[in-house]
């Protein structure tokens, strides 16, 4: 209705006046919301980056099948054929004993002198098995490894599976802690906003009474308070975003080692536009629900 549009101006002016009339209480509410959201946002960033790493890591995911030395050349070729038909396998590449030695030499450089004393090449031939994109997950990997296990001529299987599972467990743990923390902080934030708005209602109860006497509806009285909560929440969200951005660009580069450990050298990524908007919107919703709680708690126009 056009009337609500007309009244939006009044509501905005009244809400801003309310915020200005109690700057300290409002500032405390904004700061508390901001701090809560910085913590939640930090968890979101950490998780987002770790999950992103898993995605990228999946591209390099392959299984190495070490072959029995006793396996004859033609059996090796048959094995390659067989493995290629295994469900979930995209591509198989044969690495001969000689190639393995070459790679080893190239890898260890001068340390290759170690091998000089040996008259026989100790490295086994192997198959490098690339997974179909749909199988590049921890579960997909496990299924493929199980199908390969026990094939005649396969002496041993190696995959990043243990590592991936450990990493996934870490991600799940961090997510759990993050969700738990998020819920607790959201509740605390709701309480703080509710309290701030309740104080504002008390400070202005004379005003509320007079508004009612000149014919203001409950909604007309309530909306500026709801807007106040919303603005506080959104401001807290925006403050959190700015703080996180500052930490991300100014503080994180000082912790290269820790980042290397967590993300394996992948460059950390900040929030996307939508994620950033979600953080601010989350703050705004917390503020809004906080003031709804304050107003529904036994308040009468």
């Amino acid at each position: 209705m056009s009337r609500s549009l007309v009244q939006l101006g009044y509501f905005t002016r009244t809400a801003l006046r309310g915020l200005r009339s109690s700057p300290i209480t409002s500032a405390i509410a904004v700061i508390t919301i901001g701090v809560s959201l910085v913590l939640v946002g930090a968890f979101m960033l950490l998780l987002g980056n770790m999950e992103g790493l898993l995605d990228r890591f999946g591209d390099d995911l392959y299984v190495t099948a070490y072959l029995d030395d006793a396996l004859a050349a033609e059996d090796q070729r048959a094995l390659v054929e067989l493995v290629t038909t295994v469900e979930g396998v995209e591509h198989v590449r044969m690495v001969s004993k000689e190639e393995a030695l070459e790679r080893f030499r190239a890898g260890v450089g001068r340390g290759a002198a170690l091998l000089e004393g040996l008259d026989e090449n100790p490295l086994p031939a192997s198959l490098e098995i690339t997974l179909a994109p749909a199988r590049r997950t921890s579960d997909g990997l496990r299924i493929v490894v199980e199908s390969l296990d026990g094939l005649p001529g396969v002496a041993d299987l190696a995959s990043g599976q243990d590592w991936v599972e450990g990493y996934l467990r870490a991600v799940a743990l961090i997510r759990g802690v993050g969700i738990g923390l998020g819920v607790i902080l959201a509740l605390a934030t709701l309480l703080i906003v509710a309290n701030t708005i309740r104080l504002a209602v008390l400070a202005r109860d004379d005003e509320i009474e007079i508004l009612a006497l000149v014919g203001a509806s409950r909604a007309f009285v309530a909306v500026p308070f709801l807007l106040e909560g919303l603005v506080q929440g959104a401001a807290g969200g925006a403050a959190a975003l700015v703080l996180l951005l500052g930490i991300f660009h100014l503080v994180l580069p000082g912790f290269e080692f820790g980042l290397e450990f967590l993300l394996g050298g992948v460059a950390p990524r900040f929030f996307s536009g939508a994620e950033a908007a979600a953080l601010v919107g989350g703050g705004a919703s917390l503020g809004l629900f906080g003031s709804v709680a304050a107003l529904s708690g036994g308040w009468r126009a």
Binding site: V6, G9, Y10, D206, L213, V214, G215
Partner: protein, 253 residues
């Protein structure tokens, strides 16, 4: 406006419960054996039956504590009667729901004995309140507020805050807020109590002119000189009861 339609709809709803109250169509307010007790046994009003016609100008007189303020409060549903029925603008006060009370109050302008201005808002914003609650567009609000403040000689005060003004100025702001939305009923509780004699007459003329435009005006006052000067109907209360309800000699009934 849909006012006529709206009130007649509610009118028919009220009809079932209070058949005696809607006998006269031109009554703005009907009070039927109304009593009000704030505490047990002490009656601020007792067995008051009165009728105020549309466009009527009535003085409500009586000594301090007679029940004048109480009577006015019942009319805009700031208090509920302990007994009896009140119909205001076709609506039975006792049956107004939570959403209907504000709707009725928007049709009634009230000048409170203690002004009830918002100290944190400017004079302009205070007067604008009656228009803001009904969603009047901002431009129209500014124009109407300016016009009424000018009529009351307060346009130069519109950006001041009420507490920085004199009692008489605050009173006029309260009057401006009550009149700015052209209410169907104007209830004024001692509206000239803080004004000097010249200003009193100006303000009373302004209030009386609302009645000539069809507004039902009820003015509670101690000042009997005012009552005799205007020669209008005067209802005198004492001890919560109506002790006199008189038209001046020669006035049309």
């Amino acid at each position: 406006m849909t006012r006529g339609g709206r009130s007649s709809r509610f009118w028919s709803r009220d009809r079932r419960g209070v058949p005696a109250l809607e006998s006269r169509g031109d009554a703005a307010i009907r009070m039927f054996h109304v009593s009000k007790a704030y505490g047990a046994g002490s009656f601020a009003l007792r067995d008051v039956s009165l009728e105020f016609r549309k466009g009527e100008f009535v003085f409500l007189t009586g000594p301090s504590g007679a029940g004048k303020t109480t009577l006015l409060k019942l009319l805009f549903s700031a208090e509920q009667p302990s007994e009896g029925q009140i119909v205001v603008l076709g609506r039975n006060i006792a049956r107004l729901g939570r959403t209907a009370v504000p709707l009725l109050r928007r049709r009634i302008g009230v000048v409170f004995q203690d002004f009830k201005l918002l100290p944190r808002r400017t004079v302009e914003e205070n007067v604008a309140l009656s228009l803001d609650v009904v969603g009047t567009p901002r431009r129209a609000v500014r124009q109407k507020v300016f016009a009424i403040l000018k009529q009351l000689g307060l346009q130069h005060r519109r950006y001041h805050h009420p507490l920085s003004l004199s009692g008489g100025e605050q009173q006029r702001i309260a009057i401006a807020r009550a009149l700015v939305n052209e209410p169907e009923i104007l209830l004024a509780d001692e509206p000239t109590g803080n004004l000097d004699p010249d200003l009193t007459l100006d303000i009373m003329d302004l209030i009386a002119s609302a009645a000539t435009r069809g507004t039902t005006v009820i003015v509670a006052t101690h000042e009997l000189s005012l009552v005799s000067r205007y020669g209008k109907r005067a209802v005198r209360l004492d001890g919560g009861g109506v002790v006199e309800d008189s038209l001046p000699p020669g006035a049309p009934a």
